[in-house]
Symmetry: C2
Subunit: 330 residues, 2 copies
DNA sequence: GTGAAATTTGCATACGTATGCAAAAAATGG
DNA sequence: CCATTTTTTGCATACGTATGCAAATTTCAC
């Protein structure tokens, strides 16, 4: 039964015959209330349909239960998955997600201004970077910040990602075991740490074994993978294997090769990165490197929760091991 | 230059040599301030790094600039697209998006309680329904609500969707023109209005022309489309065409048929629904019905903005026409 | 330059909750 | 049952901003 005006703690207090403070204490975790008044308050609250006003709360405590989640490439199916899992994880922890989308590789001040205005409890920045002075604003306001799936040049922040360097190495070794003699690496956007590191580990091994390779720069999209693969075989020479910096490009690569009549895995092999759902689809059955999403999310949320409980501003670079998922393209 | 404590309007006022009210007025749209003080205030604000506290604002105005966006099936690539476009649209309007994810077809009270606690300015519910008493809570709190891509049984709410009934009819007529003699319809979750209406329009035309058809129930997932297609041709009879209730299932259908050696479009035709990005991929080139996403988003946002400006609680069922996108599977 | 009108400003207060402090109540010990 | 400790409660105030109202300032017409 709602009145016309919003129900406040004062209303509940009056009905329950207690003070507003007591009502507040019932809803404030860790505050002391006797069982008797708690029951009285809850009964009255239920009757009136009372719900604590989060804004008034935040105004006092100077903190919210909102996590800012900044995403860039939602066209990559890897990220919707990340988004839903984060949302589920935070819901379980009693936090909500303020979603911010950006198209720029580097976040601008305006993109994240809203997060500061809302005084979010923590921020996750996915698949993008930001200028340091913008990032420092979070530090100044003691808002914990995690870069997810991006490693930074500086040591001043906390980042969680897959161990891309090691993954690149393992992929190379796996292909060498398969007897592959020359390779192509198709990179994602070159200004991303993910692509660079995967590449570095991969090339490192190839060079040590003196395996010839070619690198093509692409952009983390299906169309990019498709066109780049076409370009790579235009000369007529088909390499023995393609390592593609993410799955969505790898699917484009597979389709381009199929369209050109190149048999996979007989004539060439393709290996992707991420292990998105589509990699397991029957028409692709893409061998890929699985990102340990659950673990990455775990490290991210637990860092944020710790920092929200007691801010230290500590930095770090967490890298979680993934695993090779072998399917039918190798 | 940030102090340790958060910068308030009072600090800015002191530095600028004006009152806190004046600072407030500078940041409050539509309030009267002289150009002189505005400049003084902005200068001082910039120097101190002032940023109005959204919570204090909301506490007074009793409204926020947050839109609650409730999503269900983010595994369907149709929705990430919707999410980013909504986010972009609202950002342009000065609103932020609180993202809520649910797995249930019917939202529970707890799913949306957070939206009430945060006193969101408006709510969009995508791809899900909710019990009426939950929905009524929004009405009681005068929070505008739009069901996106779901039509309700009752007339009490506002919904925006594609004209699914008409789309079903047009698809049927298109296939008939192609000389198709018998058909299969693969439905999505049967408790969704989208699937039911597409089906109704489709069958209506077929029945009036006395074209035989079979219906298979599936679940809006790739795997569902794949398995259902296999089941449909298990008897050995391949229908002349498949109408599949969404693209992701249609892709599964295409893959299943390919895997069984059924030639598309020669031996059978497949037509999907949504026009997700993947429908245009070279290895699929799926003919499909394009949902007019931009228009749907436009109707949703403008309804919400109107209702936020002056709440009327008016209901309605907006249905926007889509269009057939002809590719290579028909 | 003067008086009236129009605009701008500051003052004071309100929004709904959390919290330190002191008073009240309950629990404990003898 | 009383004295003491512990727990619970209410009071009063603070959080940072918006806004009605009256005072102060500016604008305008003559």
């Amino acid at each position: 039964m709602d009145m016309n005006h919003t129900v406040t703690a004062k209303d509940v207090a009056k009905l329950a015959g207690v003070s507003q403070s007591s009502v507040s204490r019932v809803y404030f975790e860790g505050a002391k209330v006797s069982e008797k008044t708690r029951l009285k308050v809850l009964a009255a609250a239920k009757q009136l349909g009372y719900r604590p006003n989060e804004f008034a709360r935040s105004l006092i405590t100077n903190r919210t239960r909102i996590i800012g989640l900044v995403m860039k490439g939602v066209d990559n199916p890897f990220y919707p998955q990340v988004l839903t899992r984060f949302t589920a994880a935070f819901k379980a922890l009693g936090f909500s997600v303020l979603f911010v989308h950006t198209n720029n590789e580097e976040l601008e001040a305006e993109d994240i201004e809203i997060l500061l205005n809302y005084n979010v409890a923590g921020v996750i920045i996915t698949d993008a970077t930001m200028s340091l002075n913008v990032a420092n604003e979070f530090k100044e306001n003691k808002i914990p910040l995690v870069f997810f799936n991006r490693k930074l040049q500086t040591d001043d922040f906390y980042s969680v990602s897959c161990n891309n360097l090691d993954a690149g190495r393992k992929v190379a070794m796996y292909l060498l075991e398969k007897g592959v003699t020359d390779m192509v690496y198709i990179s994602g956007n070159e200004d991303t740490s993910t692509s660079r590191e995967r590449q570095r580990g991969f090339f490192e091994v190839l060079e040590s074994r003196q395996i010839p390779y070619t690198k093509y720069a692409s952009n983390y999209t299906y169309e990019g993978g498709y066109q780049t693969a076409l370009k790579a075989i235009r000369s007529g020479h088909v390499p023995a294997a393609f390592f593609v910096a993410n799955d969505i490009m790898a699917l484009g690569t597979v389709d381009a090769l199929k369209q050109q009549g190149v048999k996979i895995p007989e004539e060439t092999k393709v290996i992707g990165f991420d292990d998105i759902e589509m990699a397991d689809w029957p028409s692709y059955q893409l061998t890929t490197w699985r990102q340990p999403v659950e673990k990455m999310i775990h490290f991210t949320t637990s860092y944020l929760m710790d920092e929200i409980a007691a801010y230290t501003g500590k930095s770090g670079k967490v890298e979680v091991d993934g695993a090779l998922i072998e399917r039918l393209t190798t």
